[in-house]
């Protein structure tokens, strides 16, 4: 196999890695916020369910969760899981990352002084307005470093998709390495993850900088 064939084969895997990465963020960033808000729900039952959900997501390996999501429907309900591989992967990633993001959001929300809520309430802001206009922008600034950490972890975690034999860059690296008895695919994968994270870092730095206009 020529180097360029290797690269172009793996480029396909990079696109798939990118798909996992972006779909996970698109799903888990908002879902994490919903989870964080539900965690503060008035209803004990809701709070209980959410806190169990968060402990399971954080307390078990993501690889295991992916297997459960993929094979669960068959073992529990005898369903045909033919086209379920990629959806299961995304569900697994989104729910796992939402739990982590939820905890980050919660920390951020709790760090906003109560005076901010009171000032908004006295000025007549509705609960939604208070959250969207006053609280959330401040939370975002506070949590951005933690979010950056998670996003970087996510780039690397996408490789866990090999568990479900999804042909992302790491699975391909393993396969090509096996067939070519070469380490080069792993080097390519390593460079890819490094560059991807470098881009993530630059992007996140920009976002953090854009929030630097106040203290």
């Amino acid at each position: 196999m020529t180097f360029s064939t290797m690269l172009s084969t793996m480029a396909d895997g990079m696109l798939k890695t990118g798909a996992i990465f972006f779909l996970t963020l698109i799903g888990s960033l908002p879902l994490g916020m919903i989870v964080a808000l539900l965690r503060k729900s008035r209803f004990t039952l809701v709070r209980g369910i959410i806190s169990v959900y968060i402990s399971i997501m954080r307390g078990t390996p993501l690889m295991l969760q992916l297997l459960v999501w993929y094979f669960g429907p068959y073992y529990l309900f005898g369903m045909n899981i033919g086209n379920w591989r990629f959806p299961a992967l995304i569900v697994g990633f989104v729910l796992n990352y939402a739990a982590y993001f939820a905890e980050i959001y919660r920390g951020g929300i709790e760090s906003i002084p109560v005076g901010q809520y009171e000032a908004a309430e006295v000025l007549g802001y509705t609960k939604t307005q208070t959250f969207m206009r006053i609280i959330l922008p401040q939370v975002m600034k506070i949590i951005m470093p933690s979010i950056t950490n998670e996003v970087i972890t996510l780039v690397k975690d996408t490789s866990l998709a090999f568990t479900l034999a999804y042909q992302e860059v790491f699975s391909l690296a393993k396969q090509i390495s096996a067939s070519q008895t070469s380490f080069m695919p792993f080097v390519i994968a390593g460079v890819f993850y490094f560059v991807a994270n470098y881009v993530v870092e630059i992007a996140m730095n920009r976002i953090e900088k854009s929030m630097d206009y106040y203290k």
């Binding site: 396909d12 399971i56 999501w69 045909n80 899981i81 042909q167 393993k174 096996a178």
Partner: protein, 277 residues
């Protein structure tokens, strides 16, 4: 507490799954009329892409290998549609049982698993060997005493070295004399360790071993075999009809020369293909 957690895990996940894929649940079982495997049947070939040259990424980066070409030939023979289902080898049984694939056809060792699957006829011989550096001074299995030996996880070489039933050819007694048995995710990594001198030998099936050595000088197999085995296709135990169809197709393809033609593409294993011999 842990039990409760586990129960809740299953519950929450199952609820979510139930809502998520409710739509696709209707076609779990195809109608079992007489012609289930007629023309147009979608044959789902389950295999591991880490197992050259039976199933792997070929030099063009495409999914290929002897087993893949054979499966495609069978599909062509019956007018079936071929669907490739690459899976993670550790999850092969779950994949097969869950129905995401029709069979495990991926250099799959029959020996020791006789009762676990419904087996096709064996199509390839594969002996377990010990690979060493030519200048290592290791000449026999007995010389492995006090040496570091590498093996890939979930392979028959690995099973052989774990098996202490000598009637089945188990080699656990030998493995106990090693300084250590190093278990690797892939043979590629094990081979690198052998090159680097981190281990002294690799327990491996002859075809995989030949494949690894094909581009490298300085390595050899011990003359003594570690064990012998055959490859066959594993089906779910109740899929008798499918199994019989595949067996019939294998015979037919052996007869008309297709097998030989395909095997010619894989010089490192063609001598071991037993179909039609």
């Amino acid at each position: 507490m842990k039990k409760i957690l586990a129960l809740l895990l299953v519950l929450t996940m199952s609820i979510a799954v139930f809502t998520a894929c409710g739509g696709s649940s209707s076609d779990t079982e195809t109608s079992d009329g007489g012609d289930q495997y007629g023309e147009g049947y979608v044959f789902k070939h389950g295999f591991d892409l880490d197992y050259p040259p039976y199933s792997y990424r070929d030099d063009n980066g495409e999914v290929g290998g002897f087993d893949v070409e054979m499966a495609k030939a069978v599909c062509e023979y019956y007018g079936w549609e071929y669907e490739s289902v690459p899976f993670n080898w550790d999850a092969k049984d779950a994949e097969l049982n869950a129905g995401s694939c029709d069979c495990i056809w991926s250099g799959f060792t029959l020996n020791g698993r006789e009762d676990d699957y419904l087996w096709s006829k064996p199509y390839s011989d594969n002996t377990q060997k010990i690979m060493v550096k030519k200048d290592s001074g290791i000449k026999s299995l007995a010389d492995l005493e006090g040496k570091k030996v590498g093996v890939q996880t979930a392979t028959s070489a690995y099973d052989l070295l774990q098996n202490d039933n000598e009637e089945e050819g188990g080699q656990a007694a030998l493995a106990n004399k090693f300084e250590s048995l190093e278990v690797y995710e892939t043979y590629t990594i094990a081979f690198n360790d052998l090159k680097a001198g981190a281990i002294d030998a690799i327990a491996i099936d002859v075809t995989s071993g030949n494949f690894l050595m094909s581009n490298e000088d300085g390595y050899t197999f011990l003359d003594e075999d570690l064990g012998s085995e055959v490859y066959a296709i594993g089906f779910r135990k109740d899929d008798t009809e499918l199994c019989e169809k595949i067996n019939a197709a294998l015979d037919a393809l052996a007869e008309d020369g297709t097998v030989e033609k395909i095997a010619a593409n894989y010089p490192e294993i063609k001598d071991y293909i037993t179909l039609g011999k």
